[in-house]
């Protein structure tokens, strides 16, 4: 039984949870793009040009144009260059890359091989989130299949192009999703982000030129090279090409991944997931992963799901993790849990983040537990300003933005907590419902 990822799916199309092997992938036009490139002798720079044309933007959260990023790699370079895939998916709310890894790993492998070809890299690594061990093992197995079939290794498909790909697992550190922390982690160190510049394109893994893209980004590449950049672009909107996988979690009827064309209205996406759970009223949505500012429900219902529309509304599309909150949600408690997460996951390197995330959390925690003070709300906003933009990596921003947005958008709830030492919406706590398994049949 096919998993329903929505009508627009190209990356997650035709998957039933067990048809992940190489032979299955080949029946879905798998490895055809690669074969075409090698057979027709398409020049590497033309591959990059096609990706540029597609309007593909980084699916990990930053939305940087992929083709442009690829063009930063020094083409003639003495010594090794590296290609790295960021499958360290740990932004709360995001679980799209996991489905690619477990149900369609070869699309990622093919995408990486094509990218390696375009940039002239001989070695690649896929850094996989430590918590999804089964996916790590499956990916290792898929790599073996690809090696055996001659898609990886020396002289791929008889050409003079060689590329070896390995997987590397994390072991429990959100920060390694940051690309330079991820590189440090592959080097066997703590995942502490590096200051940029120098950028990975000049000083990356082991100090060598390196390109890092997200899993979903690479997974879109075979389609682009097979169907043409234009075709991919036309699936979405100008500057927002292609499809995007959104991970819907929280108070929706059917949590899960939905691959839709860029620019699809949020209302339509919500509908695919069966609407707000129990038919309740939509209170707020975190549109792009836990670090992106929360948007009030009414406004969200008017927005389209693409980088530019969400940015215009003051938030970010991020990784495409859509967290839906109904009117029973206590926004103070929600903010507290997110603040705790960033406090726990700060790498400890930069002063504002190391010291500030704990401070933010402790204040929200006090407010949630009836020990808030009137001046706390402005202090939170001020501290968020003192953290954001003052750290090496974006974790400081990621910790500051949700707190600021929760306080600004739902200030009355915070004030109520301070004044009445209890929750404004019912008994407080998380609104939950009996566990359901909308997509479980694939997994079982």
């Amino acid at each position: 039984m096919m998993i329903d990822y929505g009508p627009d799916a190209i990356i997650l199309k035709g998957l039933d949870g067990s048809n992940w092997r190489l032979k299955d992938y080949e029946t879905r036009a798998g490895y055809q793009a690669l074969k075409k490139i090698l057979k027709d002798g398409i020049k590497p720079e033309d591959v990059t040009a096609e990706v540029k044309k597609s309007g593909l933007r980084g699916r990990g959260g930053a939305g940087f144009p992929t083709g442009l990023k690829w063009s930063f790699m020094p083409r003639p370079f003495a010594g090794p260059k590296y290609l790295v895939c960021n499958s360290d998916e740990g932004e709360p709310g995001t679980f799209k890359d996991r489905d690619i890894l477990r149900y369609n790993p070869h699309i990622l492998i093919e995408g990486m091989i094509i990218a390696a070809y375009a940039m002239g890299t001989a070695v690649g690594y896929n850094y996989i989130h430590g918590e999804i061990w089964a996916e790590y093992e499956r990916f290792e197995e898929a790599l073996e299949e690809a090696r055996a079939a001659g898609y990886l290794g020396r002289n791929i498909l008889g050409s003079d192009f060689s590329f070896e790909l390995h997987s590397h697992h994390g072991f429990g550190a959100y920060i390694c999703g940051e690309e330079t922390a991820l590189l440090e982690s592959i080097e066997g160190k703590k995942g502490q982000p590096r200051y940029k510049p120098p950028f990975p394109a000049s000083f990356g893994l082991y100090g060598k030129p390196t390109t890092i893209n997200n899993t979903e980004t690479f997974a879109a590449v075979p389609y682009i090279l097979r169907e043409g950049g234009e075709a991919f672009l036309n699936l979405g909107k100008p500057n927002n090409g292609g499809t995007k996988i959104f991970s819907l979690a929280g108070h929706v009827t059917r949590p899960g991944n939905y691959e839709i064309n860029m620019g699809t209205p949020f209302a339509r996406l919500l509908e695919l997931a069966g609407g707000v759970r129990g038919g309740r009223k939509l209170k707020g949505v975190i549109p792009g992963g836990s670090s992106t500012p929360v948007i009030k429900g009414d406004l969200m219902m008017t927005l389209d799901m693409d980088y530019d529309s969400i940015a215009k509304a003051g938030s970010m599309l991020g990784s495409g993790a859509v967290m839906v909150m109904d009117d029973t949600t206590c926004m103070v408690k929600a903010a507290e849990r997110l603040a705790y997460f960033y406090f726990e996951e700060s790498c400890g390197q930069c002063t504002p983040c190391r010291e500030g995330t704990g401070w933010l959390y402790r204040i929200v925690h006090r407010i949630e537990h009836g020990l808030g003070r009137t001046e706390d709300l402005d202090l939170l906003l001020n501290l968020a300003d003192q953290i954001q933009g003052r750290t090496i990596c974006a974790l400081g921003d990621a910790a500051a933005m949700p707190v600021r947005a929760f306080v600004k958008n739902y200030r009355e709830e915070f004030e109520f907590h301070v004044a009445h030492k209890r929750c404004m919406v019912g008994p407080g706590g998380y609104s939950t419902s009996p566990v359901n398994e909308p997509l479980a049949m694939a997994a079982e």
Binding site: T94, I132, A134, A173, K190, G250, M323, Y430, T432
Partner: protein
């Protein structure tokens, strides 16, 4: 000469396989997998074991310790036979993650980071596992992910692990 006391030959062979992934002069790259392999064997990472990994990979012990203490799936203390990490992060909490954790706490009679009296279970609070759509989710000994953990399924799991 350091004679390895804790790291088995089988573990070393697994580490050697990991080492083939990286350039010959970058053995340190294998430290994360080496520690994971060592932990699989011993259940946790005593200092002597970390020291052995350091020697095996030719890196300073303190650099191994930095890694072991940075990534939170490494166990720096002895654990129960089964370490159960339950994700309680926000998206999971909205779909029963906290409820599942509370259920387990009362069923096992322990709080976070505590070991059950029979030494079988340690319960820890996990952070995002990248499987929010499957909430409640939990990990058994870091590697086995269990999804949609309703009270019935939790009962079944505990029964199975006992």
């Amino acid at each position: 000469m350091s004679t390895s006391a804790l790291l088995s030959d089988a573990a070393k062979r697994k580490i050697d396989r990991e080492l083939t992934k990286y350039p010959a002069d970058q053995k340190q790259s294998a430290v994360m997998s080496a520690l994971a392999i060592a932990q699989d064997e011993h259940g946790w990472l005593p200092n002597e074991l970390q020291d052995e990994v350091a020697n095996y990979l030719g890196m300073p012990s303190i650099a191994v310790y930095e890694v072991a203490t940075f990534y939170n799936m490494y166990n720096l203390k002895p654990m129960g036979r089964h370490k159960i990490s339950v994700c309680t992060n926000l998206p999971c909490a909205f779909s029963g993650g906290v409820d599942a954790a509370e259920y387990l706490k009362s069923k096992l009679g322990v709080d976070w980071k505590e070991l059950t009296a029979d030494g079988k279970f340690t319960l820890v609070e996990g952070e995002c596992m990248g499987a929010c759509g499957d909430a409640p989710v939990l990990l058994v000994n870091n590697k086995r992910m269990c999804s949609f953990m309703s009270p019935e399924k939790l009962d079944k799991l505990i029964e199975e692990l006992k």
